[in-house]
């Protein structure tokens, strides 16, 4: 028996065309907002002299995570500046921060909805699986179609790739709140919102923060891929070094990403431990 090939690819392309035709204003609006966010953060980061910002971040690290991380922040960031990678690093950082902020703002509420309703959870879970396992390059394509080249489709692709842990762990954290505590909150006449804000979110916070930490790490891992569709920054340097087989430049840019990754990880991990 010889079944004809299901034209899945054609359908997807038709859907892409249809969406481009009908949702263009929405995509333009999203492009505008995200573009402005990235630009804003980047401008702010570069407005401050590098050395001053290094000191500020080291101070923050000391306050949040102790002197070891502070020392690492100072030396690491100083190295980035010394390698003349400061500006591209800050460009990459602003992409990461934008993607992370949007992921948290959207991911936590979706996670809460999943925790409250099994139908929503059962619908969302396979979508999250899809987002995490579909190779990132594949959704770079529609991102470019909808949002053209540049940093915005990079942010979108980062969000798609990075948002699942926040949703999953918010859901998990809330569901892990012991049933007897939820029962007690009910027994004293809490509204659903009171129960959420006074009991479930505070107790789920460590788990949610672990999800946010993962989200930030994953969006950082997207900076190189995002550079393939025109996002500027240290990721673009890595990408160029690869295409031109320049190990030295690639290594320098790679080190800058590693330093930022370790810093973001330690800072977000310790931010909630203290509480």
């Amino acid at each position: 028996m010889n079944l004809p090939k299901i034209p899945l690819g054609e359908w997807i392309e038709k859907l892409e065309d249809w969406m481009t035709a009908n949702f263009a204003p929405l995509f333009d609006f999203i492009t505008l907002v995200i573009g402005a966010m990235v630009d804003g953060i980047e401008t702010a980061l570069l407005l401050v002299p590098a050395l001053l910002l290094i000191l500020l971040i080291a101070t923050l690290a000391y306050w949040v995570a102790g002197w070891k991380i502070a020392a690492f922040a100072f030396v690491g960031l100083f190295l980035i500046d010394n390698l003349a990678l400061w500006e591209p690093s800050m460009q990459a950082l602003s992409l990461v921060l934008t993607a992370a902020v949007i992921s948290v703002l959207a991911g936590v509420p979706v996670g809460i909805l999943c925790a409250r309703n099994n139908t929503i959870r059962n619908t969302v879970t396979p979508v999250l699986d899809f987002m995490q396992t579909m190779p990132a390059f594949v959704y770079l394509l529609p991102a470019v179609t909808f949002f053209s080249l540049g940093v915005v489709p990079g942010v979108i692709a980062s969000i798609i790739f990075a948002i699942p842990p926040t949703i999953r762990l918010t859901n998990l954290g809330i569901r892990q709140v012991p049933g007897e505590l939820v029962e007690a909150a009910d027994a004293f006449g809490s509204t659903p919102a009171q129960k959420l804000f006074k009991l479930q979110l505070p107790l789920a916070m460590p788990t949610i923060m672990a999800g946010i930490n993962q989200t930030i790490m994953l969006s950082l891992s997207m900076v190189v891929i995002a550079s393939m569709i025109g996002a500027q920054g240290v990721g673009a340097l890595v990408y160029r070094a690869v295409t031109q087989v320049k190990l030295g430049i690639g290594f320098e840019a790679g080190i800058a990403i590693v330093i930022m990754a370790i810093l973001l990880d330690r800072l977000t991990q310790n931010a909630f431990k203290k509480k």
Binding site: E180, A187, F188, G189, S190, T191, K198
Partner: protein, 399 residues
Amino acid sequence: MSIIEVRQLTKIFGPDPARAGRLLNEGWSKEKIYKETGMTVGVNKAEFSIRQGEIFVIMGLSGSGKSTLVRLLNRLIEPTSGQILFGGADIVRMNPEQLRQLRRKNIGMVFQKFALFPHRTVLGNVEYGLEVQGVERRKRKELAMNAIRLVGLDGWANSLPDQLSGGMQQRVGLARGLANDPDILLMDEAFSALDPLIRKDMQHELLLLQSKMKKTIVFITHDLDEALRIGDRIALMKDGSIVQIGTPEEILIQPADKYVERFVEDVDLSKVLTAAHVMFQPQTVTPERGPRVALQLMRDNGVSSLYVTDTEKKLLGIITADQAAMALREKRTIQEVMQTDVPWVPPTALLNELFEMMAETRLPVAVVDNREKLIGIILKGAVLSALAGNPVPEAGGVS
């Protein structure tokens, strides 16, 4: 006066409660319904009323449905059918907002595993119920501190729950249940997770608190001793049904069926029955009537001593046949020969507190109320008979 009336309250767990309800009405047993349909009858047509100010104990072994029953009262578990009448309203029919108000204002709850919020201090836990009602900060702190003081935790207000011992944690649970001054306090196995000594202390303290607060308390337990110690009335549950409701004495002395009988057979009655239970109304004599009348009364009643009271029944002393005879011979009055140092107990004394006194005296023990009136006497035979589980004929006949 009853504060809650429960009628035909039923809870069935499973996909088609209506069908299981019909089968129940056709007389199917809990096991048969479970076998045939896979549905579980949690509570089977419970019917009782709770009186204002009493400690109503719901007792049963695990799986008997007692924890389900108490959760039906504030609808932490939704009833399948039946009514719970409270202040003219049916709790079963309340909408979510009415139910919330009921839980906030009228029904407090204390949980077996304390269920304290670990991220809130003792104060934060105790004021939770007030906080969700929107009581303003200063007022709720004041009320919460009162509740904390009431349970003896002053000085711990700013500690976190996991810094406290089990007993102290449950005091916090109790304070949280009391902070908004509810009409009814539900206590679900509240002391079961505590070790035996602490548990006894807590029972004692609950009774002490209760003598001041006069709350209506619904207390769930699987422990008969606990039920007997603190319950004004006890409802015994088996397989989701209530098999008997009565005072501790009624349950012990007149078990409704073989199940209750087996349940209570190991109870140490001497720790439950009181002097009032075994005493009977004695023949007494007033001093004015003289030794001759006293002797005559003793002869008529076949006793060898008589308690002497004034006309108000105030206890004066006791006179034996020998003393009366001596008074007659020497022409003295009853007051001159009677013995004023008599063994006596209050009516609330437990039988096991009587043993030593009864061993030391040959006289019947006097039962004296708080106005020094003689309300009864206790003979050794009556105590032994009661401990053997026999009803005491005169019990209750004495006021």
